[in-house]
Subunit: 362 residues, 2 copies
């Protein structure tokens, strides 16, 4: 078992990474303060892992609420199922909420924990690659609004993140690829050595080789933990974690949440960010090509849906949380391993990227 730490003063917490952690009582016990526990999971993950987790929690009063599966359910109605369960089972302010599932479950359980009685403890047990390397770490929680993704939520840190790498063995290939989008992102924004390592190991990751996966998860979480520790509430550097996300959110919103997986939209979005970076003269042709090849080998799309027009991008991107006084701020790349945030870029270049006419785009 490996342990990382997210350094946030009194809100610091550990990330545990290893196979089979999900049913180890000793991992959970120090982070559950009182006897009540509410497991929040979904109809796909619960049959696979809830029993294991309940065994690790023997001696506690454990209830659970099972949500429908999918980004389409990341809304108020589903969130309210968690509040209903907590109140019907009379959970007090001392309860601990455990999120068992992917990013959607973690985001909703986390926002429920932030809001129930104005804040109760919670623990993340992410079971998808995407949630293990990204959404379970850093305290971003929330739900979607019909007019925008993650528009309602809170910054709320868990007490611990427990990453059971064995849970990836049951993950569908499409979701593995979606998770790899965020893994590749860390190489792109901060770590060229890691990007090169990924070029050497991407097939092993796609094939779910346990040791390779564990190393990729550890490096990704360490990167995320560093960035979050430096800027918890995204006042500055944390924004680089959104590489590809402003384009990606527009794609997700256009297609209806859940039709494109988040990681798939981010994959296409990172490619668009790379294209724009190249047009802006910041990124070399060679780097753009390396990025495109790696995304494809990871099983990810490298352009948005064909039916999406530049007006669609514009309209949906203007609603992004990174829009400051009307200007669309984007994360661009200087080179592989170095990102920057800017609203200073050529409107012509931007237009050619979102209209799909930049050279190299199909």
């Amino acid at each position: 078992m490996k342990q990382l730490n997210v350094s946030l003063g009194e809100r610091s917490y550990p990330i545990f990474i290893g196979p089979g952690l999900c049913n180890l009582a000793d991992v959970f016990k120090p982070y559950v303060r009182h006897k009540q526990v509410m497991i929040v999971s979904n109809e796909t993950v619960s049959p696979l892992y809830e029993l294991q987790l309940r065994e690790a929690l023997q001696g506690f009063e454990v209830d659970s609420v099972i949500l429908p599966d999918g980004e389409a359910y990341k809304n108020w109605e589903t969130l309210n199922q968690i509040f209903d369960a907590l109140l019907e089972k009379e959970h007090s302010r001392q309860t601990t909420i455990i999120a068992l599932g992917g990013g959607v479950v973690g985001d909703m359980a986390g926002f429920a924990a932030a809001s129930y009685q104005r804040g109760v403890d919670f623990i993340q047990v992410p079971t998808t690659l995407l949630s293990q390397v990204d959404s379970s770490v850093g305290g971003k929680t929330g739900i979607n609004h019909p007019l925008g993704k993650n528009m309602i939520g809170a910054f709320y840190q868990p007490r611990a993140v427990v990453i059971d790498t064995q849970s990836l063995q049951t993950l569908p290939a499409r979701e593995v690829s979606a998770g790899l989008a965020e893994v590749i992102k860390y190489g792109l924004i901060r770590d060229e050595v890691f990007f090169t390592w990924l070029e050497e190991h991407i097939e092993a990751l796609v094939a779910l080789d346990p040791a390779t996966l564990e190393q990729a998860i550890e490096t990704s979480c360490a990167c995320k933990a560093d960035v979050v520790a430096a800027d918890e509430r995204e006042g500055g550097v944390r924004a680089i974690l959104n590489l590809g996300h402003t384009f990606g959110h527009a794609i997700e919103a256009f297609c209806g949440y859940g039709n494109w997986l988040h990681g798939e939209a981010v994959g296409a979005g990172m490619m668009m960010a790379a294209q724009l970076s190249r047009l802006e003269g910041a990124l070399s042709d060679q780097d753009v090509a390396r990025i495109e090849v790696l995304l494809k080998r990871a099983g990810l799309p490298v352009c948005g849906p064909g039916e999406m027009k530049s007006d669609d991008y514009l309209r949906l991107m203007r609603l992004d949380k990174k829009v400051l006084d009307g200007e669309i701020r984007l994360v661009l790349l200087n080179r592989i391993g170095s990102a920057y945030v800017t609203d200073q870029y050529s409107a012509t270049h931007f237009e050619s990227v979102i209209s799909g006419t930049a050279s190299g785009q199909r």
Copy 2:
């Protein structure tokens, strides 16, 4: 204009108190960071004060959303009207939400500010006595759930609180009394001198004498600011602010939110807490009598609704946020001016208070 300060490190903020502040541009300008402003008000308050406030905000891009009036609307559906308005008008993460109204508007606008894009700035402009002396200060925000009051929310501090004492001149008498319940509470829990001052000035307050009101508001806010600064998230001493509230919340839930005003329920609840304190041997008969007389002179009820039985209290109080592992924690009084929090009290005494058979109860 008087100014107090709530000392919470980087989350510190000023409270301004005085007549006519609502339309003074200089009061607001330093606390609005960017050009967008969303006024959240209700259908009763907006016609009286929104224009004044808009005049003070000339030069900003001001939108508003007008909610239905009343505690019965303090729910998700109404909260969502705020999110809808923010997104439809494309408010960015840099927007400022201004709550213009009573406690319900402030609680909902505050929770919307805490949750919109994971947190935007907000300013409280409380227009009722209750919200001026209590709910606008201290950062408690939230909405009700059918199974419990304020069960969903956040601790989220405003950037400033602007108390325009002139707005009380349009307040219905019943709401003035409800506000006085919280004013009396500060005397009971922390300040016998203030309680005695209230005994001397209660008729002037009921009659809305401006100078007397301003002094009562200032003393109340100073007390609240002290307690909140000592314990922002209610880990300890802040709980004494809930004197009468656990009983009161049960009354509100039983009668349906809004049928009893919050302050009325707190008035009856403080009387019940006083009765229990007397049975426990902590409070003298004479003090109980003083409390009852002052509550009555303030126009407040001194017992719960006749049709509410002890089982109703028990069931509804067990859902209170102050319940720790099943025990109902209460705020009791040692004497006028000194409160303590405890779950150690005689079940027989408690039963006789909630069944209305304690001596002196009707």
